[in-house]
């Protein structure tokens, strides 16, 4: 039973920001999406799970490993790609991964060599293995980051906004890679790109203000909203008015005109037409509880 069980996890920073507020969740192997606006506490949660930060209270277990009290044990089965992945200057991709692989316990030279070749090929950097990583483009660096996260067959793989800066091709390749490894492995993928979650994740959670505001499958979430989302093109002048009289989920511009989505148990008429909810609607309906314009 290799589930990740988080119970009542809280963390308040010294400046008073409550980054985690009594978070409890159980995550099973497979891809797990973590959605939330900036500052929702996603990164704090992930850092805490990656043993890089202390929590004030609560517990987190990966199988038998008490993450908060046995950081060393967790690190042996952890793959981690942080939001910002920097590299050392004056060092090649191979040297960097080699160093990382040793740190992750791949001390057998030939094994390590094979592994590095395999991973570099997987992230399509085999040809560039002897180039200085500092000179890589953002996407290439990110791929190095992915390669290092995959070293050593981690049981828990935490990736924090991995696709920022990747072109569509790279993004696809990356997701294929993740799906490949996600059997028997818990992959926590934090992102604010809603599509990523839909495409990849069997389970997801939405965080806001340090709390988990939704947990379940994407399908269930969509199911919940089915028939309750309506949209309408409005003018800028009437935008405000609409916002006051309806439970607005989101507003965005389409061809220069505001398009609003609202939540309604029944058809509001008034020019609104029903629409199939998408994950974005889920996201906004969970995080925009006050129905404010954005």
């Amino acid at each position: 039973m290799n589930n990740l069980r988080i119970a009542n996890l809280s963390k308040t920073y010294s400046n008073g920001v409550k980054a985690l507020d009594d978070v409890s969740i159980e995550i099973e192997p497979g891809m797990f999406g973590l959605l939330g606006p900036n500052g929702a506490g996603k990164s704090t949660l992930m850092r805490t799970l990656a043993t890089l930060q202390e929590a004030d209270s609560g517990s987190a277990f990966l199988g038998d490993i008490d993450i908060l009290n046995q950081p060393v044990e967790l690190r042996k089965v952890l793959g981690y790609l942080p939001q910002e992945f920097g590299v050392y200057p004056r060092i090649t991709a191979w040297q960097l991964l080699d160093h990382m692989a040793i740190l992750k316990g791949i001390t057998n030279n030939s094994e390590r060599k094979e592994l590095l070749k395999y991973l570099l090929d997987k992230v399509n950097l085999y040809d560039k293995r002897n180039k200085s990583v500092k000179g890589f483009s953002g996407g290439m660096k990110q791929r190095v980051g992915i390669a290092q996260a995959l070293i050593g067959n981690p049981k828990l793989l935490i990736v924090d906004e991995p696709t920022a800066g990747l072109d569509p091709g790279e993004r696809n390749r990356f997701y294929n890679l993740l799906v490949d490894v996600s059997e028997d492995v818990i992959v926590i993928l934090s992102t604010h790109i809603v599509d990523d979650i839909r495409e990849l994740c069997s389970n997801m959670a939405i965080m806001n203000g340090g709390q988990i505001v939704y947990k379940g499958t994407p399908q269930a979430a969509l199911e919940d909203l089915k028939g309750k989302v309506y949209q309408k093109m409005v003018t800028r002048e009437t935008l405000k008015e609409h916002a006051n009289s309806f439970s607005i989920i989101s507003n965005k511009m389409v061809a220069g005109q505001p398009l609003i989505h609202i939540y309604s148990e029944s058809s509001p008429g008034n020019g609104f037409e029903p629409v199939d909810p998408n994950l974005e609607d889920v996201f906004f309906s969970k995080t925009n509880a006050d129905h404010l314009l954005v």
């Binding site: 010294s14 850092r47 990656a50 043993t51 890089l52 930060q53 202390e54 009290n69 046995q70 950081p71 060393v72 690190r75 042996k76 952890l78 981690y80 790609l81 942080p82 910002e84 992945f85 920097g86 590299v87 050392y88 200057p89 004056r90 060092i91 040297q95 080699d98 160093h99 990382m100 040793i102 740190l103 992750k104 316990g105 791949i106 001390t107 057998n108 094994e111 094979e114 592994l115 070749k117 395999y118 090929d121 997987k122 085999y126 040809d127 560039k128 180039k131 000179g135 483009s137 980051g145 290092q148 996260a149 050593g152 067959n153």
Partner: protein
């Protein structure tokens, strides 16, 4: 726009703690230096006020060096903040003005970087207000405030220094956008500073050295070197002279750098140096399979982690630009100091290995420390700076392994640097044809001294960076700990190497005595510090901020979780081992041996004076005969002494008691018939015996004193360097207790005396015209003996020769030890030495006198020259002064722990480092060995045949005469008169520098009170000039007559007035003023050439016309100087070459106007003209005496 950026820069930084931290630290340091004598910044202040403008300037100048660190922090921040926050693209897309942005930030940073240095002024003001009020210092130590000093210092030092340094750093930061490179900028400034310092080490390059000093520190010290105390108290540095030129030059350089940087500055994002990467055609696609993995998280993985960390760390240091630049600069510095390694009187020594080792440690060693400090921060912050920390931290490595790997990388890099220095040294030796390369000395020195120090510093600096968790504060703390912590301990009166990071007894290699007496102690201290570093770094392993930055408490709890039981055990084990070694070191240094702190020794001196000053004038018998038995045990470093002493009551009173000063280290035992101990103060070592029956005038008494010196364990410092394995050197005043109250043990420093409420120290008895009681004692034996016979039986181990003054009467071997019996041939001063070492002896005979040089095997290069010098001295002195009364002249080498030569009867110990290894192959150079041998030989007449009474002027009769005699032997063999000027310039300099540092009032030569700069420096210059003015024979006749009257004569001893009785008749009336001006008063000249030109005459000769300006300055005894009219004879002359070697014309003219013109006709084409071309007169500025002659209008 400028205003906006200027003020945002200020506002931003003023909200950060850094500026206040630096300001506070500097204020504290300067406050400490102002309010306590124990804290010294840039030399002691002597009799100058503690808040004198001169002192403030010194503080400011030195603090500007620390200011460099501050400058980097502020300028780098100003230039890079937007980039580092990735705000640049947003900011630069707005329409802001380039000039406003660039200069606004720059000047904002300039103002900011000067703020911490205002701490100098704050510190001085606080010190002046608080110290006298609280009673730390007497109010008389402070003068009135000189606000001008603050202002001028700010404008002359702080602002220009920060401007220049800032311009360079800001330009580099803007160009390369890297903190590392900005630091390199600061380092370059530091290096250039050091290079200009090495230029200055030779006196000729003073002007260049002064101008190349970008901080103006040396410029100021050159400009102020001859300032008298009064001037130091009142004069603020002014906007004139070299200093002003220097400041203008460097501000201009800074401005140019800044402008260049401005024009190349652009808002465009700097193009990243990405090489266009070709999408190389893929060769046939290889298939890679995921291998089966067997991750290893056992113990062995730690080793692999270590290896990988070590490799990447070391690589990152050695590949970094900073390191490469440091490497290059240190090599440059080392090579320049190797090549310019001047030693004394412009003479170089042979590149013996220990010299090179010293040079490496002195000039290049600082680079290793810089590397350690800088890269300890870099390594600790490397992961975070590169934003890879989270990834690394999340891997299953132990933090300790990472810390230890960092430490080892630092150690490895330091060792690489050090070995590189050694390599340079060896190459230098080989290039100079010196083949006796002692690789073992190089390597052992490194192993005993440097390697442990590097290891300890690495461990400690890493720990500091981990604990402080802020790079800059970490740097500052590291530097504070390294360079300033000792002042703090000093102020707290804690004096042991056990609190001074990585310190221990010094080890210095001597060819004679190897690594010497400090070695054992040094090794134990090394172990003590290494264990300390281990304990520290294990702590760092726990407290290392792993993961997101967190407050200390969280780090502590996170650390605990990672600490296994084994870790805890190992840590405790290391701690226990450290405690045990600390105990052993403490036992040896504090229990077996003693550490007397400065405050303690002051208190003892104070107490001694309070208790026993009353005995100063009790009548005591004099020694009239001594038979020594001295047994030296070099292996154990022990000495046993038995002295049979015959005392005589030479006074006309009854003597009822004997007073002794006992050194507890020598545990003296007395055998005095019919006497009992009535006072025995062990702490002060004062002991009084009272006779049952007083000694009647003329009565004699035999007493025996046994002393024994035992070396125990090891000491805090290297301990006794006089009793050593090879090269023991003792003298009579050490081995037996001295008699009577010793005023030499009193506290000397007048400010300290005031602090302890002691009256001002008695000055030397004033010079009297008719001599009475005061002339019964001479200044050498202090009234405890007169000319007397001495003999010695001395024994040592079988491999050594032991020497005492006198003829060797008998020599034998007994119980595997060598015994010698020496007896002085003529009653002499009781000033007696005992030496033992493994010697080779070079012998010669001269008119029945045995000339012997006892030297270390291998140090034979200069021995023939020494023998020549002895011969030459004997010839000149016997001919001009009188006979030599000993049957031997010995020069004896002793290890280099001290650097002097000294004359005992017929016997002259001479330091290893002071002549035996001087390179005398180039005969163009000053021959310092000739000079020193001649000086010590002259003491066989001046000091041993005749010695001055213990009163003012006494040392003139020995030291001035000896130095004069030495100059005369030099003059005999100098080919040109100009060579003597080369030599004399060091004597001039010695006097002028000395008088500017005068603590008490300056005295005329006639009344000199044992002040080196007067009796050596001024005495030699004046007597040399005198023989030039009245003739060598006349001076020598006076000397000879004086000697004949007093030679080996029982007291009263002569005074300097007695010498004048012989000198005055030799001086023609027209020159009598010389005696007044030069000997009886203090006179300086101020001569200069205003114009010098020549015209070719019709007969092919040249007429040289000069306009000169001449003043005479009389100085009173507190440094006030008044200009007086000149009516003196001065030389004028013409040189044929610009090197001033060929003096083709010289004439002595009467100068009786402040401005005069002269013409001279010479045969050759003139190059330069000069007033006082051979530098006979004492002047503060001589360089304006010589001028290149310009071609004038030809005669019609």
């Amino acid at each position: 726009m400028f205003k906006h950026f200027f003020f945002t820069e200020l506002r931003y930084a003023l909200r950060q703690p850094m500026v206040y931290i630096f300001l506070g630290l500097i204020t504290l340091m300067v406050f400490g230096a102002t309010s306590s004598d124990n804290i010294v910044i840039g030399g002691t202040v002597g009799s100058v006020h503690k808040n004198a403008p001169y002192v403030i300037t010194n503080f400011t100048a030195i603090m500007s060096i620390f200011g460099l660190l501050i400058a980097v922090a502020f300028y780098n921040n100003a230039a890079l903040r937007d980039y580092n926050n990735q705000f640049n693209e947003i900011l630069f897309s707005t329409p802001l003005s380039k000039g406003g942005y660039f200069f606004g930030r720059f000047f904002g940073a300039l103002i900011l970087s000067t703020i911490p240095l205002l701490g100098v002024f704050l510190g001085v003001i606080l010190g002046t207000l608080i110290a006298p009020a609280v009673g730390w210092e007497g109010p008389e130590r402070f003068g009135e405030f000189h606000f001008e000093a603050f202002l001028n210092n700010y404008l002359l030092f702080i602002l220009p220094n920060m401007f220049f340094a800032g311009a360079v750093i800001y330009a580099m930061a803007n160009k390369w956008r890297s903190t590392v490179i900005s630091f390199v900028g600061a380092l370059i400034i530091l290096m250039t500073y050091i290079i200009s310092g090495t230029l200055l080490s030779d006196i000729d390059n003073e002007t260049i050295g002064a101008l190349t000093d970008m901080f103006g520190i040396r410029t100021f010290s050159i400009e102020s070197k001859y300032l008298t105390p009064v001037e130091k108290n009142t004069l603020s540095p002014g906007f004139t002279g070299l200093l002003m030129v220097n400041r203008l030059v460097w501000v201009a350089v800074g401005a140019v750098v800044l402008l260049l940087s401005y024009f190349s500055f652009s808002f465009q994002e700097k193009k990243k140096a990405v090489k266009a990467k070709k999408e190389g055609e893929k060769a046939e696609k290889q298939e890679f399979l995921q291998p089966e993995l067997h991750p290893n998280h056992g113990k062995a993985s730690g080793l692999a982690h270590f290896g990988s960390f070590f490799y990447t760390n070391t690589l990152s240091i050695t590949k970094s630009i900073t390191f490469k630049i440091l490497f290059l600069f240190s090599a440059l510095i080392l090579i320049s100091s190797l090549v310019g390694g001047f030693e004394y009187y412009g003479l170089q020594s042979y590149p013996v290995t220990y010299k090179i080792v010293d040079l490496i440690n002195n000039s290049a060693g600082i680079f290793v420390v810089i590397v350690l400090v800088f890269f300890s921060g870099e390594l600790i912050w490397r992961d975070r700076d590169n934003k890879i920390n989270e990834v690394i931290d999340a891997t299953p490595h132990a933090s300790l392994v990472s810390m230890v790997a960092k430490a080892f990388s630092l150690i490895t890099v330091s060792c690489l640097l050090h070995l590189f220095f050694v390599f340079c040294g060896v190459i230098y030796q080989l290039v100079n044809g010196f083949t006796n390369i002692e690789l073992d000395v190089y390597l052992l020195e490194m192993l005993y001294g440097k390697l442990p120090a590097y290891a300890v510093l690495s461990g400690v600096m890493i720990t500091i960076q981990v604990l402080v968790n802020n790079k800059y504060i970490g740097y500052f703390l590291s530097i504070f700990l390294l360079f300033m912590m000792n002042f703090v301990w000093l102020a707290l009166d804690v004096q042991t190497n056990m609190v001074s990071i990585s310190d221990g007894p010094r080890i210095s290699y001597s060819d004679m005595n190897g690594f010497g007496p400090g070695l054992t102690g040094a090794l134990w201290f090394n172990l003590y510090w290494l264990l300390f570093a281990v304990v520290m770094i294990m702590g760092a392993g726990v407290l290392w901020n792993r993961g997101a930055s967190a407050p200390f408490k969280e780090r502590l709890s996170a650390g605990r979780k990672q600490m296994s039981r084994g870790y805890g055990l190992a840590w405790s084990g290391a701690f226990l081992a450290w405690v045990l070694v600390a105990g052993w070191v403490f036992y040896n240094t504090k229990v077996l041996n003693e550490i007397v702190t400065q405050d303690e020794s002051e208190l003892i001196a104070v107490e001694y004076e309070r208790l026993y000053k009353k005995y100063e004038n009790v009548p005591l018998p004099k020694l009239v005969d001594v038979k020594y038995e001295v047994h030296i045990f070099p292996e154990e470093r022990n000495v046993d002494v038995k002295a049979d002493i015959l005392l005589e009551n030479k006074t006309n009173k009854y003597i009822d008691s004997l007073h002794f000063n006992c050194d507890p280290e020598w545990s003296p035992e007395f055998d005095i018939p019919n006497a009992e101990v009535v006072l025995d103060n062990e702490e002060m070592g004062y002991k009084i015996f009272r006779f049952n029956k007083p000694m009647a005038p003329g009565e004699r008494l035999e007493i025996t004193i046994n002393t024994a010196y035992r070396t125990k364990g090891f000491e805090n410092d290297r301990g006794n360097t006089w009793i050593v394995r090879n090269g023991t050197f003792l003298n009579s005043s050490t081995i037996i207790p001295s008699m009577g109250y010793s005023s030499r043990s009193e506290l000397q420093d007048k400010n300290k005396r005031r602090k302890y409420g002691l009256p001002p120290k008695d000055r030397m008895p004033e010079l009297q015209s008719t001599c009475s009681e005061a002339c019964m004692a001479n200044y050498l034996s202090n009234g405890h003996s007169d000319y007397m016979p001495v003999e010695t039986i001395i024994s040592t181990s079988e491999d050594q020769i032991a020497i005492a003054p006198g003829s060797l009467i008998k020599e034998w071997n007994e119980n595997g030890r060598n015994y010698y019996h020496y007896k002085v041939d003529h009653p002499s001063q009781h000033f007696y030495s005992f030496v033992s070492a493994d010697y080779e002896v070079a012998r010669r005979k001269w008119n029945g006198v045995d000339l012997e040089v006892y030297h270390h095997p291998g140090h034979d290069k200069n021995v023939p020259m020494m023998l020549d010098a002895i011969e030459r001295s004997l010839a000149y002195y016997t001919e001009n002064f009188g006979p030599y009364y000993h049957k031997q002249c010995r020069i004896i080498e002793f290890p280099r722990y001290s650097r002097f030569a000294q004359a005992f009867p017929g016997t002259m110990p001479y330091s290893e480092s002071f002549g035996f290894i001087a390179n005398l192959e180039d005969t163009e150079n000053n021959n310092v060995v000739d000079a020193v041998v001649a000086h010590e030989m002259a003491h066989q007449w001046w000091a041993h045949q005749v010695v001055g009474a213990r009163m003012q002027g006494g040392t003139m009769l020995s030291e001035s005469f000896a130095e004069y005699s030495s100059l005369m032997t030099m003059k005999q063999i100098s080919e040109t008169p100009m060579k003597m000027r080369e030599f004399l310039k060091y004597d001039h300099d010695r006097y002028l520098r000395g008088r500017s540092r005068e603590v008490d009032n300056e005295l005329p030569l006639l009344e000199v009170e044992n002040q080196g700069h007067i009796h050596y420096g001024k005495g030699s210059v004046v007597l040399y000039a005198l023989q030039d003015y009245i003739g060598e024979d006349a001076v020598n006749r006076a000397l000879r007559g004086f000697l004949e009257e007093y030679r080996y004569k029982e007291p009263p001893y002569p005074t300097s007035n007695d010498f004048l009785r012989y000198l005055e008749p030799e001086v023609p009336d027209s020159l009598q003023y010389l005696i007044t001006d030069w000997i009886k008063e203090i006179t300086l000249y101020d001569n200069r050439l205003k114009e010098a030109s020549y015209t070719e005459l019709s007969d092919g000769k040249y007429e040289v016309s000069i306009d000169l300006e001449a003043y005479k300055i009389k100085a009173d005894t507190i440094g006030n100087e008044t200009q007086v009219d000149m009516n003196d004879w001065v030389d004028i002359g013409v040189f044929a070459d610009s090197e001033e070697k060929e003096l083709i014309y010289e004439r002595r003219v009467k100068v009786n106007q402040p401005e005069m013109s002269f013409t001279m006709v010479v045969d050759e084409k003139p190059a330069k003209a000069a007033v006082d071309p051979r530098r006979l007169l004492i002047e503060r500025t001589y360089s304006d005496n010589v001028k290149t002659v310009s071609e004038g209008e030809s005669e019609p």
